[in-house]
């Protein structure tokens, strides 16, 4: 049967060879990214190992004295690790709640026509080069934070805490009045609302007053970079988690509504848990974006190799791993192969190891949540 379709043995062999070649080409294209990764890993390890052989581990991870250009040089990178961690933490605080809520809003709350407009606009943030963000942070945001740092923080506190406070007051008032006898419930609810709202507003006023008095000596600090990094990570988080929320599907939502759940219940108890792994992936991608960003932090973080005191003081300048690699590359002569050159690769290796761990964790969490759902 098959033989009838084949003209000759030669043609068959030719066709098989063609298929093999095509197959090889596709495998080559698919494996190119893996090959590139292996190459990068190999070269970074090759140039990082001499540093640890020359200087050992203790100073690099435990000391905060970063004087690579002095004689003798000191390579204590602890403050730089802390700087990277601090900036990443700050960016996550800015980007994760905002990004996930924006995704929820896009996928389930905004009308379809508006979503078609808003999503591309958010994604456009990703198209802006990081040097432009850096310029903005240096020229616009830094003087603003310097001159009105306290007021900016106070305004930010109002923006974040006022809605949260409002929700808390409403829920708290309901919870408090639920214990009362039925006929007193309505008035009890109003009274407890007023009391709680008064307490919340008072606390907010005291807090913002304290923030307002704050003096910010330098505008190129961890706060500045955290805000702008958060904005840079937003499009990743929004668009990946929006995709995850969308892929949950109509059936689950409609099933939930059919059982009598409200929209809030559907969102919080059905849609978000179902999309959890996707949202987590979005968050990790966003965090990786913040860790790896270089130009912005080099321009706007101040680059002081010093652990802020106290450590969570976002108003002090910090130095990050990526900025150090970028900034010190020029003088670190590979010709002579000095420790000053290899230390940058040791930092690159740490960044790579961090990215690897993050990926493994996200993979693990996703797999587990998939298993839990059955």
């Amino acid at each position: 049967m098959q033989d009838q379709l084949v003209i000759s043995k030669g043609a068959r062999r030719f066709r098989r060879l063609g298929a093999l070649l095509g197959h090889a080409l596709i495998v080559a294209l698919a494996s190119s990214s893996i090959v590139a990764l292996l190459f990068i890993f190999y070269f970074i390890v090759r140039d990082a190992v001499p540093f640890f052989r020359l200087e050992g581990f203790k100073e690099f991870f435990c000391s905060t004295h970063w004087y690579p250009s002095r004689e003798p040089a000191e390579f204590g990178a602890l403050s730089i690790f802390v700087g990277s961690a601090l900036v990443t933490l700050g960016a996550s605080i800015v980007a994760v709640p905002l990004g996930v809520l924006a995704a929820l809003c896009l996928s389930d709350i905004l009308p379809f026509a508006l979503r078609q407009v808003v999503k591309p606009i958010i994604e456009m943030l990703a198209a802006i080069p990081s040097v432009v963000y850096g310029f903005f942070a240096l020229v616009v945001l830094a003087p603003l934070i310097q001159a009105h740092g306290g007021s900016v923080l106070a305004a930010g506190a109002w923006m974040v805490l006022a809605p949260i406070g409002l929700v808390a007051v409403a829920v708290g008032g309901d919870a408090a009045s639920a214990r009362l006898p039925r006929r007193m419930r309505t008035s009890g609810r109003i009274v407890s609302w007023v009391i709680l709202a008064g307490i919340a507003a008072g606390a907010l006023v005291v807090l913002t007053g304290a923030l307002n008095r704050l003096v910010v000596s330098t505008g190129t600090n961890a706060l500045n970079v955290s805000i702008v990094l958060g904005i840079m990570a937003l499009p990743t988080i929004v668009s990946v988690s929006e995709d995850a929320l969308n892929s949950v599907g109509r059936e689950l939502r409609e099933g939930s509504y059919a059982l009598g759940a409200t929209r809030a219940e559907t969102l919080l108890k059905v849609v978000v848990p179902a999309a959890r792994s996707g949202i987590l992936a979005a968050v990790i991608l966003g965090v990786m974006r913040a860790v790896g960003e270089t130009m912005l932090v080099w321009m706007a973080s101040g680059n002081s190799a010093r652990i802020p005191s106290p450590w969570f003081n976002f108003l002090e300048p910090v130095r990050t791993l990526t900025a150090t690699i970028a900034g010190d590359m020029g003088e670190a002569d590979q010709v002579t192969g000095s420790a000053r050159y290899h230390v940058l690769f040791a930092m690159a290796l740490c960044l790579l190891a961090f990215a690897f761990v993050m990926n493994v964790v996200s993979e693990y969490v996703m797999r587990r949540s998939r298993k839990m759902r059955g």
Partner: protein, 281 residues
């Protein structure tokens, strides 16, 4: 087995493609001059290049500003014809160059004073070199200690990668450790930007980068300007170099370009950018 074979074929193919794509780069053509190095000397080289190319159409001069260290590296690797440097070459750089068959020759094209700058609103007019060292090593942290208002000093420094930093370290810091509070920025322009927008800041830039938006301080009672810098009375001054591989062949394009600084037009250019020429016409 079959799959393994095709994977292997794929990897071989990849390698071939990579090899084929490796660019073949050639440097040093007669009508092309590549200049790389210090961001301080860069503006001189750029202005020279603009003038030279307008006089000699057909000559292509590219000027990059990647820092003195990178300039030296490029010269050693043979990827540039002139390395702009705001410091002299280090021993190791010389050694690496000679080992590669490159013989760096220095030409001093101009002199630069490093001006210590503050915000125009700062009441302080004069500091000694010792004061500046104490500020940058962290012994003095408040303007009050220097007779100013009670505000913490914001230290702005060039990155340790720059020639300006190294000159400052040698001329002012006297090999002491710079304070870990110092903020580092990547260029002279960025220092000026930070100082003009920060009332409590102190920074240092090449004299050519001082403008009306910032205030240059007197050092040891001497105002940084052309005459105090060339006479050597201003304490924080340094020569600016252009390094070539050997001295260029007389009459060659490289030779005439390099020696522009000796011409009246060259002097005019250097003065216009704000550096101090070595010639007096």
């Amino acid at each position: 087995m079959k799959r393994f074979g095709s994977t292997l074929a794929g990897i071989v193919l990849m390698t071939l493609v990579c090899t084929a794509l490796t660019p073949a780069v050639g440097f040093g053509q007669a009508n092309k001059i590549i200049v790389d190095g210090s961001t301080t000397v860069g503006p001189i080289a750029k202005a020279f290049a603009e003038y030279y190319m307008s006089k000699n159409p057909g000559v292509n001069i590219t000027v990059s500003e990647s820092g003195s260290g990178n300039g030296a590296k490029s010269l050693i690797n043979g990827t540039c014809d002139i390395a702009d440097m705001s410091r002299f070459m280090k021993d190791e750089e010389f050694k690496a160059a000679v080992e590669k068959g490159i013989f760096p020759v220095a030409t001093v094209v101009a002199v630069d004073g490093i001006a210590v700058i503050v915000h125009p609103s700062c009441p302080i007019q004069n500091l000694t070199v010792d004061n500046i060292r104490d500020v940058y090593t962290g012994k003095i942290t408040n303007w009050k200690e220097l007779g100013g208002p009670n505000v913490a000093i914001v230290l702005i420094s060039r990155d340790t990668n720059s020639g300006t930093y190294e000159s400052f370290e040698n001329l002012v810091l006297n090999k002491q450790k710079i304070s870990d509070r110092a903020e580092y920025v990547g260029s002279n322009g960025a220092i000026r930007e930070r100082v003009q927008s920060t009332p409590a800041a102190i920074g240092y830039v090449g004299l050519g980068f001082v403008d009306k938006t910032v205030k240059a301080l007197k050092v040891n009672g001497i105002m940084p300007d052309n005459s105090t810098v060339t006479s050597g009375t201003y304490p924080i001054a340094r020569p600016l170099f252009m390094f070539t591989n050997g001295y260029p062949k007389m009459g060659s394009r490289l030779y005439t370009f390099l020696n522009l600084y000796l011409t009246p037009k060259g002097q005019e250019i250097i003065q216009a950018i704000g550096f101090v020429p070595v010639t007096k016409y």
